[in-house]
């Protein structure tokens, strides 16, 4: 633990934000090429979301979480053995245009000046704005998995509702831990399989993923979990807190009671850093999200700033690590350092690993009711703004997310629009009948994470340390 200012890194060739697969692989590669590397992550240890707390995992927990999870352990060990400086519990809350990073560690803020920055900040779960989703007791499938990974806690009375690969992974992990969900309410609309069929060739090339997916579904079935398919009209029950879920499946309405309702509609890139820096983004129709525009090595439109991993578009952990390596190789080359690895080999790996994606994207695209919630549904939970209020603001003439934000305060709360950003943009796009690229996104303002006023007051900028 580096506490005092004197011993903290003040400058580096490459600062990597996020110690998931992309960040860890990039750090190892860059350190091998003899770059000075600092990798910062909020977590207690390396791993990121997918390999969260992998170093701490006990054998029984490993059995629950499976071999793919344990693969992260090797990467974490390589990172520990490398010369990269790893800063745990370090939250980046601002980056200036001169690539000066402000970050907070255990209640004190520091600065780090980087020549290059790699944003490897992964994903956030797509918001699921159904009626009642803001009630206590409603959570996300990702949040259930975090409990499982870091505390070994399994929610015992939960309905899992939504669609996407993570839904089945978490359900099967809960089953393996002896507490399967009480039901799975699958929202993949009917006809999606046919829509995904044109991409079946890629899926066959990526059969490893398909096989894994099918085996997860089998495991959940084997645990006798009731599965409702093609579910629509989801609504969380309960007056003050969630007591269950109502929905329609195969033409029949169901009401199931549960203490927890965990929702999921896939994941999208975490846009905070690339948006903060004003990088160009484009709407990806297949993934239904904005992605930062990059070249093949991950370089964004912002000078010397790269992205790797799911933060650049959802590709999964294997691709994330490959992208991390590619970015580091590119940066090493620009700094005139010897290359340990071949970009072409990594690029071939990326093509192969990504083959299954179009199939999955077509199959698991979010269902319409999650993209365009009805008027009475709260969209911004921090400021309690409904979809109807947003539509009304648009009708008055507010043209985009930032005007709607200024007008209604949607996206101004503590989450800074991390949860509702895409939903707000999509509602405006639909109302104005304009494409998402023309609608854009919230301007993201620092601090990226809430910061104590006293911490800011006691902040020691680099310039005052004789740097």
């Amino acid at each position: 633990m580096i506490r005092d200012y004197e011993n903290r890194p003040k400058t580096c060739d490459l600062a990597i934000i996020g110690a998931g697969p992309a960040g860890m692989a990039a750090a190892v590669t860059a350190a091998k090429a003899e770059l000075t590397v600092v990798i910062l992550d909020e977590g207690e240890g390396p791993g990121g979301q997918i390999y969260r707390d992998v170093e701490q995992s006990t054998p029984p927990r490993q059995r629950v979480l499976g071999p793919d999870y344990m693969a992260g352990g090797n990467l974490a060990a390589e990172l520990r053995a490398s010369d990269a400086i790893y800063l745990a519990r370090s939250t980046v809350w601002n980056i200036s245009t001169n690539r000066l990073i402000d970050y907070s560690c255990e209640g004190t803020s520091y600065q780090l000046q980087a020549k290059y920055i790699l944003a490897a900040t992964g994903t956030v779960e797509r918001a699921c704005p159904i009626p009642g989703w803001t009630k206590p007791g409603v959570t996300t499938v990702g949040a259930l998995q975090i409990l499982l990974k870091s505390a070994g806690i399994v929610e015992e009375n939960a309905i899992i509702a939504g669609s996407g690969p993570l839904l089945w992974l978490v359900a099967s992990q809960m089953a393996a831990a002896g507490s399967p969900p009480i039901a799975i309410v699958e929202t993949t609309p009917r006809g999606r399989f046919q829509a995904a069929l044109p991409h079946i060739l890629g899926a066959v090339r990526g059969h490893r993923y398909l096989r894994k997916g099918l085996s997860l579904i089998r495991k959940v079935r084997a645990a006798n979990v009731p599965i409702y398919t093609g579910a629509t009209e989801l609504e969380v029950l309960g007056e003050f807190e969630a007591t269950g879920l109502r929905f329609v499946s195969k033409g029949r309405q169901h009401s199931l009671s549960a203490r927890r309702v965990a929702l999921h509609q896939g994941v999208v890139p975490n846009p905070q850093i690339t948006r903060l820096l004003g990088c160009d983004h484009r709407w990806d129709k297949m993934q239904h999200c904005f992605r930062p525009v990059t070249n093949k090595r991950g370089l964004t439109s912002f000078e010397n700033v790269y992205v790797a991993g799911d933060g650049g578009g959802i590709m999964g952990a294997v691709s994330a690590a490959l992208q991390g390596r590619l970015a580091s190789l590119d940066i090493a080359r620009k700094l005139g350092k010897a290359l340990a690895d071949r970009p072409a080999r990594l690029e071939a790996g990326l093509t192969k690993d990504g083959a299954v994606r179009p199939f999955l994207e077509a199959l698991y695209a979010p269902a319409p009711e999650f993209i365009s919630p009805s008027d009475d549904v709260k969209v911004c939970r921090c400021e309690e703004i409904t979809a109807g209020a947003i539509r009304k603001a648009v009708d008055l003439g507010a043209p985009g997310p930032n005007q709607v934000k200024s007008y209604l305060r949607s996206g101004m709360g503590p989450c800074q629009g991390r949860v509702c950003g895409l939903v707000v943009a999509a509602i405006i796009a639909e109302r104005r009948d304009v494409c998402m690229d023309d609608i854009g996104y919230f301007r993201i303002r620092p601090p990226l994470k809430p910061l104590h006023l006293s911490e800011l007051a006691g902040f020691h900028p680099l310039g005052e340390l004789g740097q």
Binding site: G397, M412, Q416, R445, P450, H452, L453, A457
Partner: protein, 380 residues
């Protein structure tokens, strides 16, 4: 949109901030055919992102009469524009941390009273404690203007623009004025999309107004600056007034929802050519420290967001308001130097009167652009 169509009007206003929109509304209400041209969207810059302070307190003496006129319009604004604008009457209070500061504040109030203005009053330490139980013990007193207030800046500017439209003004957004030229007695104003023509042009282009004025032969030393603000998570209710401090830059208020908005003149980096501004946290650190000194409860607060906006500042910290020094039919209202939100309705009304009638009853000579002609760095 059809390229190079020509659009005629009585008055072309450049800039859709609160000043452009207010002038458009009042001019349209006087029967003028008004066009507003805004390079981004209405309220995108200072007018939509400011601290929302509707403050007469502490103004430069030359601003007081028009600020007073503006205040009278603020009290009526919600009826005028059919939107409450988030406007609330609230005391604005300026605190003294030393007895010397207190003396200076008292003198100011006496002087104002001599000019016939009694909205500012002196508060001794006991009275101040009564109004602000959470204030730090070291604060010795202050002055206040009890019927000032605050509003939601974007909501206000947006509502005024809609009212202006209902009154017949045409507002063209996402069009930047590239050139302003006199063509046979009329102004011809061109954007990439259109050409506009009118006998009168009003330059309300905020931090960007200097270039337009200088292209027409004026001396207009507008500096683009980026005041910074931060907002905290919700705190229990502890402050009803909008607070400033005599000796240090601070503006401070608790919103009805419990969040606290802190700002007050510390500057970030402004880049008007890119439409951008950037926070400088080492500077904002001093704002945080001041807020905690004045209200110790703030030590518990968490910052959830910060922002800055591009604002035009004049060397003497008062705006340019009035007719051009070089051309007939050209008018300016810009450079509001970090405190122009409150003045929007008043100045808009004055400009409409000036342009419609050729003169105004209000004292605006101190704001003439001519003051910079031989002395571009004039300070007060």
């Amino acid at each position: 949109m059809i390229a190079s169509s020509k659009i005629s009007a009585d008055l072309i206003i450049i800039g859709g901030g609160i000043h452009g929109c207010c002038a458009a509304m009042f001019a349209a209400q006087r029967g003028m055919d008004v066009v507003v041209i805004e390079k981004d969207t209405v309220g995108r810059h200072a007018s939509g992102v400011n601290a929302g302070g509707v403050r007469r307190l502490g103004r430069d003496f030359v601003e007081v009469p028009i600020s007073q006129h503006s205040m009278d319009l603020w009290y009526k604004l919600s009826d005028l524009v059919d939107d409450d604008c988030g406007f609330q009457i609230a005391p604005q209070i300026r605190l003294a941390e030393t007895t010397e500061e207190m003396e200076r504040l008292k003198q100011r109030v006496t002087q104002l009273q001599g000019m016939g203005f009694d909205h500012e009053i002196v508060m001794d330490q006991a009275e101040l404690r009564r109004r602000l139980p959470a204030v730090s013990d070291h604060v010795v007193g202050g002055i206040g203007s009890l019927r000032d207030g605050f509003a939601q800046p974007y909501q206000t500017t947006f509502a005024i623009s809609r009212r202006a439209k209902r009154d017949g003004a045409r507002i063209f957004e996402n069009e930047a004025v590239r050139q302003v030229a006199k063509v046979s007695q009329l102004w011809e104003v061109s954007t990439d999309q259109n050409t506009y023509s009118a006998p009168n042009v009003l330059n309300c282009a905020g931090a960007w107004a200097g270039r337009i004025a200088e292209s027409l032969g004026e001396t207009a030393p507008v500096e683009a600056v980026a005041p910074m603000m931060l907002v905290t998570s919700r705190l229990p209710h502890f402050c009803d007034a909008v607070i400033g401090v005599a000796g240090r830059p601070l503006s401070f208020k608790q919103m009805p929802n419990g969040t606290v908005v802190v700002g007050g003149g510390r500057l970030g980096r402004a880049d008007p050519s890119k439409n951008l501004s950037e926070m400088i946290f080492p500077e904002l650190r001093l704002t945080a420290a001041t807020a905690m000194d004045i209200f110790p409860i703030m030590a518990k607060a968490t910052i959830v967001r910060s922002w800055s906006g591009v604002e035009g500042r004049m060397p003497d910290r008062i705006p340019v308001i009035g007719p051009s020094g070089t051309h007939k039919g050209l008018y300016h209202a810009f450079g509001f130097s970090l405190h122009g939100f409150q003045m929007g309705p008043g100045v808009g009304d004055i400009m409409a009167e000036l342009i419609a009638n050729g003169s105004t009853q209000w004292p605006i000579s101190a704001f003439s652009i001519e003051r910079f002609k031989d002395n571009p760095a004039e300070r007060r």
